[in-house]
């Protein structure tokens, strides 16, 4: 039994590796992502400035040698601020993606594979959460905290509204895989539900799970930035969204401090395109239709 | 073309272009079709019979390519080579002189369009300027012959059972009375009672219209029941052609014998023999007779030279060096 699981782990990893084999879009996307990951997780340790706290440097200095991206009206170096912002945003995205995808996939697999009463219950639950527009509720929640909401609380609520999407998709995939005879023969051979799910079903879904994960990171960072832009995120933390908020608040655009607003907007655009490219290529490799198996 | 032939296939070679190389799905095939008969093409999966059918019909889409040969058809007195004709001109023949019934009837009809509109599409395609009611009348007549009620016309495909859908496909294929009807596995996924009904329908139709039906199937039982002549294929080659009765009574090619013996027979409780081994890869086919590795009667000659298709008895051709006597 454990050998089977080990072998299936190896299969899963192998699928992962074969996905990364050469493709221009993927390479571009991955390259950009890696750059941002380095900026967000390696560089902050080297920052000569603190992540929070204003008036650390001269204000409103355009990009120059000493401050490669300029400084803000609140007296922070933009480049190092960006590294902290990237870190927070990326962490937020990845936490939401991990929890949301994990819960969603587990729920979807159980619902799709078990069927019956459990399926009905879980499906209705996820349908309801999909149908309720999450953003107004998020705004309400964040507003109640008067802009001092903790970033992890935000992440938790994001996860709450995120898992149903993965669950719904996973469930329909599980249903169609269940129809395939080789799954039934696996169950006839006495492996049991968990073994079947992890040994036979999961390897087929790995590309999709990966694509979904990347996508969720994107969505989560975007949602936080959206909340921040209207001023309801955790405004004291540095995130990509709060950078935009403060830039708008200080009228950066119209006072000619273009660097302050351009940097977070530009980074978001590039990062999102990169993430999207990755998820697109990964999901293109993923064909659950008749041509593959 | 002589009076008793409406289609002649000469030295037909066709292959699929794949990443690993060229797969010769149809390798040097020769035969002819007569008017007013039901011909069955038999063989295992992957022997090239479906590919052959598509080529005869004129539907050659990449990665399939015809390398050489001729498919000569008699159209209103003229002899046309389907291989060398333009796509547009071939499409003009479709559904008028020849028609095609695909393998599975489950998903071949557009789910969002009513059946009668799908029939009208066919008439539109043929550029026949018939009024809608005339079309409807014609179609109803046709449906009647096939035992389908009028309500079928105003229904959608998902409202019909598998058997009814197959009959609709038969109706579409035969409504303009084509001279040749190609059908690929007409009874897949249908239960045995419905199967029988479909076969009876086909037989009845053919008797009425006196056209030529070409049925591709691996089901030897079906061949036995309704075909007049049979073409046995193996690994892209024709191994035996003859009248069905003769073939079943006294098969001459070892492969044919094994095919027939794998059929279950009522009352015979002996163990069914399955043919050992599997067909060769068509990427790099072996030198001699393709059946050599699995043939119980093979000799050295069979391994080295390819047996040509010869007329061994009247109207009975085989390609074999050691035919059964």
């Amino acid at each position: 039994m454990s050998i089977k699981i080990l072998k299936s782990l190896k299969d899963n990893l192998y699928t992962l590796k074969s996905l990364v084999a050469g493709d221009a879009k993927l390479i571009v996307g991955l390259a950009i992502l890696i750059i941002f990951l380095v900026m967000g997780f390696v560089l902050p340790s080297f920052s000569p400035y603190k992540s929070k706290g204003w008036s650390q440097v001269t204000r409103d200095v355009p990009p120059c040698w000493e401050h490669p991206l300029g400084t803000t009206s609140t007296g922070q170096d933009l480049f190092w601020l960006l590294t902290f912002a990237l870190q927070n945003s990326l962490i937020l995205g990845m936490v939401v993606a991990s929890v949301g995808t994990f819960v969603g996939v587990v729920v979807g697999l159980v619902a799709g594979y078990r069927g019956g009463y459990l399926d009905g219950l879980l499906s209705s639950l996820s349908d309801i959460f999909i149908a309720i527009p999450s953003f107004p509720i998020l705004i309400l929640l964040a507003a109640l905290f008067l802009g001092r909401i903790h970033i992890l609380m935000l992440a938790a609520v994001f996860c709450l509204f995120n898992w149903p999407w993965a669950a719904k998709q996973t469930r329909s995939m599980a249903l169609s895989i269940r129809e395939r005879t080789f799954i039934d023969s696996a169950s006839f051979s006495g492996i049991g539900m968990i073994g079947t799910i992890f040994g036979e079903v999961m390897p087929l879904m790995i590309p999709w799970i990966l694509a979904n994960f990347v996508n969720t990171v994107l969505v989560a960072i975007g949602a936080e930035a959206g909340l921040a832009t209207i001023g309801v995120s955790s405004l004291e933390e540095a995130t990509l969204g709060t950078m935009i908020y403060w830039a708008l608040r200080y009228q950066a655009m119209f006072r000619g401090h273009w660097w302050w607003i351009t940097v977070p907007v530009g980074v978001i655009v590039i990062l999102f395109i990169a993430l999207f490219l990755i998820s697109l290529v990964v999901s293109e490799r993923f064909v659950l239709g008749k041509d593959r198996r | 073309m002589s009076k008793d032939q409406i289609l002649r296939v000469e030295d037909l070679v066709a292959y699929y272009k794949t990443e690993k190389g060229d797969v010769k799905a149809v390798d040097n095939v020769n035969f002819f079709l007569k008017p007013d008969e039901i011909v069955g093409i038999a063989g295992e999966s992957g022997c090239g019979k479906s590919t052959l059918l598509n080529i005869l019909y004129g539907f050659v889409e990449s990665p399939l390519k015809v390398l050489s040969g001729h498919v000569l058809m008699d159209v209103d007195g003229d002899e046309i080579d389907i291989i060398h004709k333009d796509k547009n001109e071939i499409e003009k023949l479709w559904w008028k002189h020849v028609s095609y019934m695909p393998q599975s009837s489950m998903g071949v009809l557009n789910p969002v369009i009513k059946i009668e509109d799908q029939f009208i599409e066919i008439f539109d395609k043929l550029d026949e300027n018939l009024a809608k009611n005339e079309i409807r009348r014609k179609v109803e007549e046709n449906l009647n012959v096939l035992g389908l009620p009028r309500e079928v016309l105003s229904s959608y495909p998902h409202q019909l059972s598998g058997g009814m859908r197959q009959r609709v496909v038969i109706a579409m294929a035969t409504i303009q009375n084509p001279r040749i009807v190609y059908t690929d596995e007409p009874t897949t996924a249908l239960d045995i009672v419905v199967q029988r009904g479909i076969l009876q329908t086909i037989t009845k139709l053919q008797e009425q219209t006196k056209n030529t039906f070409v049925i591709v199937t691996h089901d030897m039982g079906m061949h036995y029941q309704i075909t007049d002549r049979m073409i046995i294929m193996y690994a892209g080659k024709v191994v035996e052609i003859g009248e069905t009765e003769n073939i079943f009574r006294k098969p001459l090619h070892p492969y044919t014998l094994l095919l027939i013996e794998s059929l279950p027979r009522l009352g015979d409780r002996s163990e069914r023999k399955s043919i050992k081994g599997s067909p060769p890869s068509l990427l790099n086919p072996p030198k001699g007779c393709r059946f050599y590795p699995r043939c119980p009667y093979a000799t050295r000659e069979c391994a080295e030279k390819e047996p040509p298709l010869t007329e061994i008895q009247r109207n009975h051709h085989i390609s074999c060096f050691r035919p059964l006597r």
Binding site: S124, D127, I128, I130, A131, I132, P133, S134, F135, P136, I137, I139, L140, L141, A143, L144, F145, L146, G222, A225, G226, T229, I230, G231, V232, I244, M253, W258, I261, T262, V265, I268, V269, F272, I273, L275, F276, L280, G289, D291 | Y57, E61, E91, P102, M106, G107, V108, L109, N110, P111, V112, I113, K114, I122, K125, S155, Y156, H158, Q159, M172
Partner: protein, 336 residues
């Protein structure tokens, strides 16, 4: 029971359940948050004036009543539901003494007008262009379009809005920054009014339009490619039907079905995205109202707007779902 009746009943049931649960969440949230709006309000007042204890208590009672916080949890809930059904959300604090309903009634047409027009146009154009991109898939413009939609689709609406603001308002100075109407403009039923509205709504609309368009193009393209591998499309080709017929009757008509469903499911996302976009442009819609409510801590207004958002999004999704059987005969008439 006829299948379509079953479908309608199922759909409407989940509609009501969704709204009910959504509103309940709205109700519960403020009550489980550590901050108490009444205390905050009062402390604000206390910081600018001196109040004696009786006045303080009286004000506290009033606020509790206004915010619907009086009584036990069940009583509050019951009150809340009752008021939600009637549609009375009380008086707004930020725009005192206007009623919340009044504010919403002015703002709603702007948002609906913007969203409905833009979403619909983007959906139609996106589907058509996506289809053509598949038909002409060998021409350069098709892959150019594909790359364009890949570049645009992942970007949130408000980011595009910011970019558009920068380019068109600041740099090129072609469009006004404020959405809706210029200050002091008198609205009347004439062509000039219509043009002005379009001019001022153009940028907010464009932000949403561009991103939505990208999504519909990409998804239509993917759907069409998948569909062209289907058995019935292959059979249609083998019948020799004209390319245009196959494209429209076989591929497009079948691709539209999931696209309609996507539209229904995506309304929530489009709405959310537009909220931020609206506030960036000070567009006089629900988004702006939201912003006002939040910055002024106007509990009633916030509740009203959130409840309304939930109802609005669910209702539009419901409408689309009810239209769906009209185009999918498999739902209209059941199968055997």
């Amino acid at each position: 029971m006829r299948p379509i009746v079953k479908y309608v009943i199922t759909r409407m049931t989940s509609y009501f359940i969704t709204i009910f649960i959504g509103i309940t969440i709205c109700f519960l949230m403020p009550r489980f948050v550590p901050l108490d709006p009444v205390t905050i309000m009062l402390s604000r007042i206390k910081s600018v004036a001196r109040i004696n204890p009786e006045a303080y208590q009286a004000m506290r009672e009033t606020f509790l009543e206004i915010f619907g916080l009086k009584g036990t949890l069940q009583e509050q809930y019951f009150n809340f539901i009752r008021r939600a059904i009637i549609g009375d959300f009380g008086i707004s604090l930020a725009a005192y003494p206007s009623k919340v309903n009044f504010l919403i009634a002015i703002a709603l047409p702007w948002t609906i007008g913007l969203l409905a027009t833009v979403s619909f146009i983007a959906w139609i154009f996106g589907n058509i262009i996506g289809l053509l991109a598949v038909y002409y898939k060998d021409k350069k413009i098709s892959s150019a379009l594909q790359w364009l939609s890949i570049a645009v689709y992942p970007i949130p609406y408000y980011i595009i809005a910011l970019i558009l603001i920068y380019v068109f308002c600041f740099w090129l100075r072609l469009f006004p920054l404020m959405g809706g109407l210029p200050i002091g403009f008198k609205l009347s039923l004439d062509f000039r009014s219509v043009l002005t509205i379009i001019y001022y709504s153009f940028l907010p609309g464009l932000s949403i339009f561009v991103v939505s368009l990208g999504w519909w193009m990409l998804s239509m393209r993917a759907l069409s490619i998948n569909l062209s591998k289907e058995d019935f499309v292959r059979f249609a080709k083998m019948k020799g039907l004209r390319g245009r017929v196959i494209l429209i009757r076989y591929i497009f008509r079948n691709a539209l079905l999931p696209q309609v469903t996507s539209l229904a499911m995506g309304l929530g996302t489009i709405f959310s995205g537009s909220l931020v976009t609206e506030s960036l442009f000070s567009y006089p819609g629900i988004g702006q109202l939201f912003y006002l409510a939040i910055s002024e801590n106007d509990v009633n207004l916030t509740m009203g707007v959130v409840t309304l958002s939930i109802i609005a999004v669910s209702t539009s999704a419901l409408v689309i779902d009810l239209i769906y059987p009209l185009i999918d005969p498999r739902i209209r008439y059941g199968g055997r």
